[in-house]
Amino acid sequence: MSTPRKQVRLAAHFPGVNNTTVWGDPAAGSHMDLASFAHLARTAERAMFDLFFLAEGLSLREHAGHLHDLDVVGRPDAMTILAALSAVTEHIGLAATLTTTYHEPLEVARQLATLDHLSDGRAAWNLVTSTDAVSGANFRRGAYLPYDGRYDRAQELLALADRLWAQGPGPFDTTGRQVTLRGEWDLDTPPQGRPVILQAGDSDAGREFAAAQADAVFTRAGTIPEGQAFVTDVKGRLARYGRRPEDLLILPGATYVLGDTDEDAREQAAHVRRQQVSGPTAIVFAEQLWNRDLSAYDPDGPLPDVDPVEGEITIAPGSIPARAFSGKRHETVEQLRALAAKDGLSLRDVMVETRARHSFVGSPQTVADEIDAQVQADACDGFILVPHLTPGGLDEFADRVVPLLQERGSLRTEREPGTLRERLGLPRWTPEQGAAGA
């Protein structure tokens, strides 16, 4: 008797406001119209994906004292566009990223319950925390939350939402370190009981929060051993919350470039990477690393011959890549210099090489093999795929890779009935579970 083959879980990430999205391609369309969102969501739905995923940003990115103007800028409100998509899709899960810091607890509870009602049980929430002051300046309380208070707010907000979703109409009252509220709730328990919750923090606090509370983790893609180590760590934390390994899905974000052959795909990927890293973008990337103005340098010339500047981030405050280089700027610059010298690379070439890698590059067969190998080896449970073109970037994957995954029995060919939570094999959430971990 054979055990059923482990199923690949797939999510489609609408291309975001970073350099992954190639907006200058002749095939690139609107990043705002409903038609673009509907096309990508319906393509994912037809291809048996589980989720359609949207990121969030509550301020425009800034660089060197100006709005960053090289990538896609501007997006709709995530929950609002998902509510519209609930009308033009039938099966796919609808996931929005919402920070617990700059959304009100009752607003989050009401919006997620509303989306769950409107979609008949397909709402999902990627729960993130934030403390950035640039976004804070857009809200009534400003940048009110200290860094170490962000998970207090997240936990208290989620605990309240859980209580309201479970209790149905009636009064409520809660007192916490960050969230003290009282009032009257007026909605019945949403169809899923609790919307599916994703968590995206990679810190130790984030992993623990995921083990206690989340249904899925949105993480970084890596090699099979890297993935296995992450899975072992995070799923290893589940038992202390009375949860089983299969109660938490691990979904790395991944990019891909397809071609008729592996060689063809590599050529196309090289072209896409140069589109993703224009000359001006290469300078911005270098400035994030060097932490100083490099606008006088030629991206097609050699790497800047000046030293990077450690300490306060001046050129790109709030930039996650700029922060990630902190403490290792000199070391990283030396590595890049060695790479440039070895292969005779320009500044832009180096940035293409180091900042625009794709997770999967190959023929449909190769990409299907690699995706399935990761899942069958328990390096993850599936992927959140980020196409580089809006809105048609998933079409080829749906048409050419998905049938191969289905052929080998790793992806369903028919829709299971039920809510998103039921289809993902996740247990119905009870408030006691959350309490056990608290």
Binding site: A35, A38, A87, T114
Partner: protein
């Protein structure tokens, strides 16, 4: 002066704890097929902005107007959500702004609700409009020659600083198709009437006297000095009846299904008395409209509607022709942008 046809709207509300979204959609489609100008989506229990987005995707021509509280929401989120509804509706979104009593909502949000809720609401509304203006038309340039997606000189910090709230901006969402989706202020007292007169594109009231254009005598000059609006600027909407200046006035009416003929006669009288539009609150919308619309047409108050385009069930293939904007339906002039320098 010729009088415009009576504007007609329906208020959609489902106050049950398990709302029936299919029934809400069905009612919105009844309103659209009957040629109504807009539907008002009442707040709670479902989030009205989300319901609005869904109905915007399910309809093709009718105005979609969610109600939100200025007191318990963030202007930034309301601004981006309404802009998104306007994108989905292709220029058919509007907004009913309500003001809560501070004592009713204190403790339901994690900021301190000020005692001056009308002042807070005026700032909220101003911040929302400033955020809509923060992206000029044509800010997205997709210039492959310079590798720039955005003309950053056309996107602005709003740096709004009021007594109750501050918003730096810019918005994360580009300028909505209408520029400024129409703002309808729900009038419940003197303070909300002043708010509507100073800042609203339209007002909603259950008071027939106000709906007919009354209330103008209440310290008009003082009111305008206080709000900074020049009385000579308070022009009637383009093509409006011209009987009074200021916002379009809409009367909210509870429908008694036993007296639909009486309702038609009353609405004709109200129209003659200066009421510009009516928002119907009816349990049986379809039955109400079946009687009311022919009667209003016969009385010359409002012609029967021609059938409009069918909604696009996929969201991917909208009709080429844009629907009439809600600003056009309400007779409002095109919105201007505070950041645009006139050529």
């Amino acid at each position: 002066m010729p009088t415009r046809p009576l504007l007609l709207a329906a208020s959609l509300a489902d106050r049950r704890a398990t709302p029936d979204h299919a029934a809400l959609t069905a009612r919105a489609l009844v309103a659209e097929r009957a040629g109504l100008d807009l539907v008002v989506l009442e707040a709670e229990p479902l989030d009205p902005l989300l319901v609005a987005a869904r109905l915007a995707a399910q309809t093709a021509s009718i105005g979609i107007v969610p109600v939100t509280s200025a007191t318990t929401t963030e202007p930034f989120h309301v601004s981006t959500a309404l802009a998104t509804v306007d994108v989905v509706a292709r220029g058919r979104a509007g907004w009913v702004l309500e003001v809560d009593a501070a004592d009713d909502v204190r403790g339901t949000v994690t900021w301190e609700v000020p005692g001056d809720v009308p002042g807070d609401a005026a700032e909220h509304l101003e911040a929302v409009r400033a955020l809509w203006d923060s992206w000029e038309e044509g800010a997205v340039i997709r210039d492959t020659a310079t590798d720039r997606f955005l003309d950053r000189d056309k996107v602005h910090h709003v740096d709004f600083e009021g007594r109750h709230l501050a918003v730096r901006g810019p918005s994360i969402t580009p300028r909505p198709p209408q520029g400024h989706p129409p703002v309808l202020v729900r009038v419940t007292d003197e303070a909300t009437f002043e708010l509507a007169r100073a800042h609203g594109d339209a007002l909603l009231t259950t008071d027939p006297h106000l709906a007919r254009g009354g209330g103008e005598a209440t310290d008009r000059r003082d009111g305008e000095a206080a709000t900074g609006r020049d009385p000579d600027d308070a022009a009637a909407p383009a093509g409006g009846p011209g009987t009074f200046a200021g916002p379009v006035r809409l009367l909210e009416v509870d429908v008694d299904p036993a007296d639909l003929d009486g309702l038609a006669a009353r609405l004709a009288d109200e129209h003659a008395a200066g009421v510009q539009g009516v928002v119907l609150r009816a349990d049986d919308l379809e039955g109400t409209l079946a009687v009311l619309l022919p009667a209003l047409a016969a009385a010359g108050v409002r012609p029967l509607a021609e059938p409009g385009p069918a909604p696009d069930p996929t969201g991917e293939h909208p009709p080429v022709a844009a629907p009439p904007s809600l600003r056009d339906r309400l007779g409002l002039p095109a919105a201007t942008n505070r950041f645009e320098v006139p050529a």
